[in-house]
């Protein structure tokens, strides 16, 4: 149980800065997901908290103590690795109690903690098996169990579900959520999967090239993305983002069409973002954005139409009702819902 403070955290490799100053206050018991594309520094950030990577500048505080100079073992954290990192020559039981034995905990307590974790993770029948005799999902649970028995100040999870198939991933996601609710541990979770990020997090850190572009609750991030990058990264299918020129209460779209949009700030070039689910199909293409459909994906409840703005090669994605008759080649006029527009600066990518 601990509050974690990150203060202007930076990391430099060979003179090149890869983490550019991250500051965050993680409350005790909070579930924070660090999300971003590969190479954005999210794993590095987690490993810095764990003590597996050095800190170039800034401080990390866990439970009121600056841990910058502490070895991983003195930070009172537990970590689940992407490849699980189970000790292959030890049984599940030995894997899970390895840390407790080092801590010289009394036997009875070790056994009690082991059985409690094994029960929670449904690992009881496998305690004497070696990791290689387990399935991917079981190995994942052992890795979780190994972290759980230690009852640490904070849990760190580094893409724990990325090696599982889709069905297991969903199952484990629910189990992780359940575990967090039961234990109430402060948790830092790294993933590139936005569904995991949105469903698990109390708060998200969206990372882009070593910068925390936005820190906020999943809904905040979805509703009011702070940068064009966040807007494009969170949400599926991705947000439509196009360059427009704003003048006199209207936006000039690619293909030189005028779309009257009242209440737009300023004038000049902007990046205009519209989520596919925030677009509705208008009666005609007059006064709307004309889209020529290239393909329609039907998911049952919804359908997504993928097309281009007529006369240009700017792609647009539109959510359609599941029973929509739209098909390839159709021309649709689409209009954004009121107040569901996102405008970003062309120069900085920041929200306007």
């Amino acid at each position: 149980m601990a509050r974690i403070l990150l203060n202007d955290l930076r990391k430099t490799y060979d003179g090149q800065e890869v983490i550019h100053g991250i500051t965050m206050d993680i409350a005790d018991g909070e579930f924070v997901v660090i999300v971003g594309p590969s190479g954005c520094g999210k794993s590095t950030l987690l490993r810095m908290v764990a003590g597996l990577e050095g800190i170039s500048s800034g401080t990390i505080e866990i439970g009121g103590k600056v841990v910058n100079a502490l070895e991983p073992r003195d930070r009172n954290i537990a970590m689940v690795f992407q490849n699980y990192a189970l000790y292959p020559h030890m049984s599940v039981r030995e894997n899970m109690i390895y840390g407790l034995k080092i801590a010289k905990m009394p036997r009875a307590e070790i056994e009690e903690r082991l059985m409690r974790a094994a029960k929670m993770l449904e690992l009881e029948p496998y305690l004497d098996r070696k990791p290689r005799a387990l399935s991917g999902g079981q190995r994942q649970r052992v890795a979780m169990g190994r972290a759980l028995v230690r009852d640490p100040a904070a849990f760190l999870l580094d893409e724990p579900l990325s090696n599982l198939d889709a069905k297991l991933r969903l199952q484990m996601r629910l189990q992780i959520k359940e575990m967090h609710l039961r234990t109430g541990q402060t948790t830092l979770y790294v993933t590139h999967d936005q569904v995991e990020a949105m469903t698990l997090a109390d708060r998200l850190i969206v990372m882009n090239a070593g910068i925390a572009d936005q820190i906020g609750t999943p809904l905040e991030v979805y509703e009011r993305p702070a940068t064009e990058f966040v807007a494009g990264f969170i949400g599926s299918p991705a947000m439509n983002i196009l360059t427009v020129t704003v003048s006199e209460g209207a936006a000039i779209l690619p293909g030189n069409r005028r779309l009257p949009l009242p209440g737009l700030p300023g004038a000049g070039e902007f990046r205009l973002g519209m989520r596919p689910e925030d677009l509705r199909v208008a009666e005609s293409t007059e006064g709307a954005i004309p889209v020529e459909l290239r393909s329609v994906e039907r998911l049952g409840a919804d359908a997504f139409g993928y097309g281009l703005i007529e006369g240009t090669d700017v792609p647009m994605t539109v959510r359609l009702p599941g029973n929509s008759a739209a098909k390839r080649g159709d021309r649709l006029g689409v209009l954004p819902e009121d107040g569901r527009l996102h405008l970003f600066s062309v120069a900085t990518g920041k929200r306007v």
């Binding site: 073992r73 954290i77 537990a78 970590m79 690795f81 000790y87 390895y98 190994r146």
Partner: protein, 293 residues
């Protein structure tokens, strides 16, 4: 395992032929000759021989000289099997920690392997020769009356050192490869679990190196029993007295120096049985405890 079906019965034999031929000519035929000769007694001029059954074996096994060679071999082999492994493991672990010039260190460590056995023996002989050895002098200054030509223990230390020095490279190479095969995340997991480096080494790295260690144990044993002949021949010639006369050296000495072919052949048959038994034991009892990743 994949089974390949050849269109002709002839082709697989043809493909195996070179290896089989080499094995037949250089192993089975001489081994057979040794068996035959071990039951024969030759006249002093090598002109005729008579069948004597197991008489040669009986004589060899009751010969105090042979029992001495057996004892020397046990001591020598144990030392030469384990010391290079220990040193090589230590060096491999240290070399892993180097960040700059790792390749250079590794290359330098592997060089001694390219030195011929007899040359390695001569090197050590020169360095530790009591009268002109470069390194014998400092030993004398330290008050050690160093003389491998007269002192049996000194002679044993010298041959063990020479044999070890040459075998370290080979062991080092395999340990480096073995260490690289251990996922780094295991050590990170151990670090987070609270293990010190030393504890993680003994509870994780060392057990995971077991296949390598086992392989090297087998290889080093065979090396100590047979391949060190050149070193012993060059450094001590089995002396002083019989202090460094191993079984292989005695086979050579009795057969080709003393020309007692019957005894020599009986000894080599016994030696072969010892090696077969040793290897079988290693595979049966030690390998079982080895965890293959």
């Amino acid at each position: 395992m994949r089974r390949t079906v050849f269109p002709h019965k002839f082709l697989p034999w043809l493909l195996l032929a070179p290896q089989l031929l080499v094995t037949l000519i250089f192993f089975y035929w001489p081994a057979g000759q040794a068996f035959r000769q071990s039951m024969l007694k030759e006249d002093p001029f090598g002109l005729s021989s008579t069948f004597v059954g197991l008489a040669n074996f009986r004589r060899v096994l009751s010969d105090p000289g042979y029992l001495n060679a057996l004892q020397v071999t046990v001591v020598f082999s144990l030392l030469v099997a384990f010391i290079p492994m220990a040193i090589a493991l230590f060096l491999a672990v240290q070399a892993e920690k180097i960040t700059r010039g790792k390749g250079l260190y590794r290359t330098l460590m592997i060089w001694p392997y390219a030195v011929a056995t007899a040359i390695a023996g001569m090197l050590w002989l020169f360095m530790f020769n009591p009268s002109f050895g470069t390194l014998a002098w400092p030993l004398k200054q330290l008050g050690i009356n160093w003389n491998p030509l007269l002192n049996p223990n000194h002679a044993m230390i010298l041959v063990v050192a020479a044999a070890t020095w040459k075998q370290i490279s080979y062991n080092f190479l395999f340990f480096v490869a073995g260490l690289q095969a251990i996922p780094h995340s295991l050590l990170e997991a151990a670090a987070i679990d609270g293990a010190s480096r030393r504890h993680a080494f003994w509870t994780i790295v060392f057990p995971l190196l077991a296949p390598t260690t086992f392989f090297l144990l087998v290889v080093n044993t065979v090396y100590a029993l047979f391949d060190t002949f050149g070193i012993i021949h060059a450094v001590t010639g089995g002396g002083p007295g019989k202090a460094t006369e191993t079984l292989v050296y005695k086979v050579y000495n009795d057969g080709f120096v003393n020309l007692n072919m019957g005894d020599s052949a009986a000894q080599s048959v016994i030696l072969m049985l010892i090696v077969i038994a040793l290897t079988a034991v290693q595979f049966r009892y030690i390998e079982r405890r080895v965890h293959y990743g």
